[in-house]
């Protein structure tokens, strides 16, 4: 038998490659190749039927002159800042709260994870209903109860206010996972450190600044960068709640599959977005994972 001639190390190496090969094949064919193919397509005028005409950099030239593209970039930036800051802050506050002991804490801790695990599709319409101009509780509270607004508004109907609703929705949907990571770190902080800080004369706030925050620094940094990466790729959460909020993925989707279909142009938007993503991932790998 051939394998008899191999050393144990060689056999191990060979088995390793054999076992990973199917995964590599699938990933290579359906992720790596499409990324490259996307770059290739961005130089063509691509028809839905698959026909292509080479047009060089024309897609990119058009992109640089396209006001809708800049609008979409701006929307994406506001969306990213709003959701990243919001998610992290809410998660931090809730984690600090859940670190205090109180009756039924484990039940409460489980319940607050629910928004994260609920399918987007099963909750977006609930949110639509809350902000519905006719039936929604939001308008009822704002107009009839608090009197903060003179009339009922269709918040999701207007792109500007819809962006705000989308940000709140995203915070609601995604803070639980950040909270989970922060709270597990909080629990690992040594109690002695707090006692030492208390002896040094720090109050609760001082202890938070000098003990808790430095310990959480790494987790918070990771969460911010990962949230940026994930939300840059978000499609469902935005599109299903408010199809008029055009972050980059939604802008690409409209260009590629609706109205005047232009898949080559859509490919060029994806390339720009990919470059941004690659930069963020590089940053994550270098600064956070420190490879």
């Amino acid at each position: 038998m051939v394998s008899m001639e191999l050393t144990p190390e060689q056999r191990e190496s060979r088995l390793g490659w054999q076992l990973i090969a199917p995964c590599l094949g699938v990933i290579g064919l359906l992720i790596i190749y499409p990324i490259l193919y996307n770059i290739y397509l961005s130089f063509f005028d691509v028809k839905l039927t698959g026909d292509k005409i080479f047009i060089g950099l024309a897609n990119y030239e058009r992109l640089l002159k396209d006001a809708a593209f800049y609008g979409s970039v701006l929307t994406t930036i506001i969306y990213l800042i709003g959701t990243v800051v919001g998610t992290t802050l809410v998660a931090l506050l809730v984690a600090l709260l859940m670190n205090i002991e109180f009756p039924l804490r484990s039940l409460v801790r489980t319940l607050i994870l629910l928004p994260y695990f609920a399918p987007v599709i099963s909750v977006v319409f609930g949110w639509q209903f809350i902000f519905d101009p006719v039936n929604g509780i939001y308008n009822h509270v704002m107009v009839e109860v608090l009197g903060l607004a003179a009339e009922r508004h269709n918040l999701i109907g207007q792109p500007k206010t819809a962006l705000f609703v989308v940000i709140v929705f995203d915070i609601w949907k995604h803070f639980p996972i950040s909270y989970l990571l922060i709270v597990s770190k909080l629990q690992s902080i040594n109690k002695d450190q707090y006692e030492a800080a208390a002896i040094d004369g720090y109050g609760p706030f001082g202890r938070f600044i000098h003990v808790t925050l430095p310990e959480l620094y790494f987790v918070l940094g990771t969460l911010v960068i990962l949230r940026l990466i994930w939300n840059l790729n978000k499609f469902e959460d935005v599109y299903l709640l408010a199809p008029n909020v055009q972050t980059l993925p939604i802008f690409t989707y409209y260009t590629a599959f609706t109205g005047i279909i232009d898949q080559g142009f859509a490919a060029s938007i994806s390339v720009v977005q990919f470059a941004l993503l690659a930069f963020l991932i590089y940053f994550y790998v270098k600064k956070v994972l420190k490879w």
């Binding site: 489980t110 609920a118 399918p119 099963s122 949110w127 990571l181 790729n233 469902e236």
Partner: protein, 320 residues
């Protein structure tokens, strides 16, 4: 730390906890409440229905036929107008009929379930082998593979929508229903494979080598030891990863809309619910009931996998 809290502190704490719970749970309560309300009750801010309405659930689950198509009074008046030709009348009626078409919820549920379960199974099977290779075997190129997997795990589906669609068109899969379904299945597999590899790889590393060594000295090959040692020891984690992949596929809308839009009977739940929502207005009870029914399996999975899930996620294996 252990000192007693004052009354004021206790009140503030309670208030804060109630506020957080309200923020997290209110939308769910709203969905449940609206799904049980009659139309006249929708605008009522009270969450408790004046009169419980189970029709939406009955319709969705197929216990009763969908109610007569609801034609607005103005349109009815228009139809009574003798000047309207039968063809025009038929056209107007069809508009309402086509949208109030039966919503075969069980069918959509089954579509989504089969697709998600197959994708999660294939992904899990591939990932067990792959994760074993790069977490427990030494071979040249292992580090670079590990890093590439972390990289692709962060590349979202949105970046691949154009090339994957074009590839599917090119090989002819996008032309037929089954081809489209196959494309979708493959896409769900690759959307879940990197995260499965990542989570399982992290988990396999925590299994002590000594257990495997004992098995290999007993005459077990490395390959056999995966099935004899690693898999039985990782059952809770395998369940967790499966559930995780299942949920990713269960939620997916983007590619489902690209590939299945024209095949109504093959719609997945996200796609079906979205078309239901945009096709008609004022059917909040049905939409909310459908939302509840979509939510329930996930909550069941959630409770089932909860114990391991939070641990697995906290170790950094998360993907959205």
């Amino acid at each position: 730390m252990n000192r007693k809290r004052s009354l004021l502190q206790n009140m503030l704490l309670t208030l804060a906890i109630v506020a957080v719970l309200f923020f997290c749970l209110f939308p769910f309560v709203q969905i449940l409440s609206t799904s049980l309300k009659h139309q006249f009750d929708w605008g009522n801010p009270s969450l408790i229905p004046v009169k419980i309405n189970l029709n939406a659930y009955k319709e969705l689950l197929g216990f009763v036929q969908a109610t007569e198509e609801q034609i607005p009074a103005t349109v009815k008046k228009l139809l009574e107008n003798p000047l309207i030709t039968p063809e025009q009348r038929e056209k107007i009626l069809a508009k309402y009929r086509s949208t109030s078409d039966v919503f075969p919820f069980p069918r959509f549920f089954l579509n989504t379930f089969l697709l998600s379960a197959s994708a999660a199974s294939v992904s899990l099977a591939l990932a067990v082998l792959g994760a074993y290779a790069f977490s427990r075997l030494r071979f040249g190129g292992r580090t670079i593979i590990q890093r590439s997997i972390l990289f692709v795990y962060m590349v979202g589906g949105v970046l691949l929508m154009v090339p994957l669609y074009q590839m599917s068109v090119k090989v002819g899969l996008a032309r037929t229903v089954w081809g489209s379904l196959l494309s979708l299945l493959l896409i769900y597999i690759i959307q879940t494979l990197p995260v499965s590899l990542y989570m399982l790889g992290n988990y396999f590393r925590t299994i002590p080598y000594s257990i495997e060594e004992a098995a290999t000295t007993d005459g077990c090959s490395r390959l056999q030891s995966i099935f004899v040692i690693i898999i039985p020891l990782s059952v809770p984690m395998l369940v967790t990863v499966f559930v995780y992949c299942f949920i990713i596929a269960w939620n997916e809308f983007l590619f489902a809309s690209v590939f299945l839009k024209q095949y109504h009977m093959f719609h997945t739940l996200p796609l079906a619910l979205q078309s239901l929502f945009v096709s008609k207005n004022a059917i909040w009870d049905r939409i909310m009931a459908a939302s509840m029914l979509t939510l329930i399996p996930v909550i069941v999975c959630f409770m089932f996998a909860m114990r391991n899930l939070s641990g697995g996620l906290a170790e950094g294996g998360v993907k959205e």
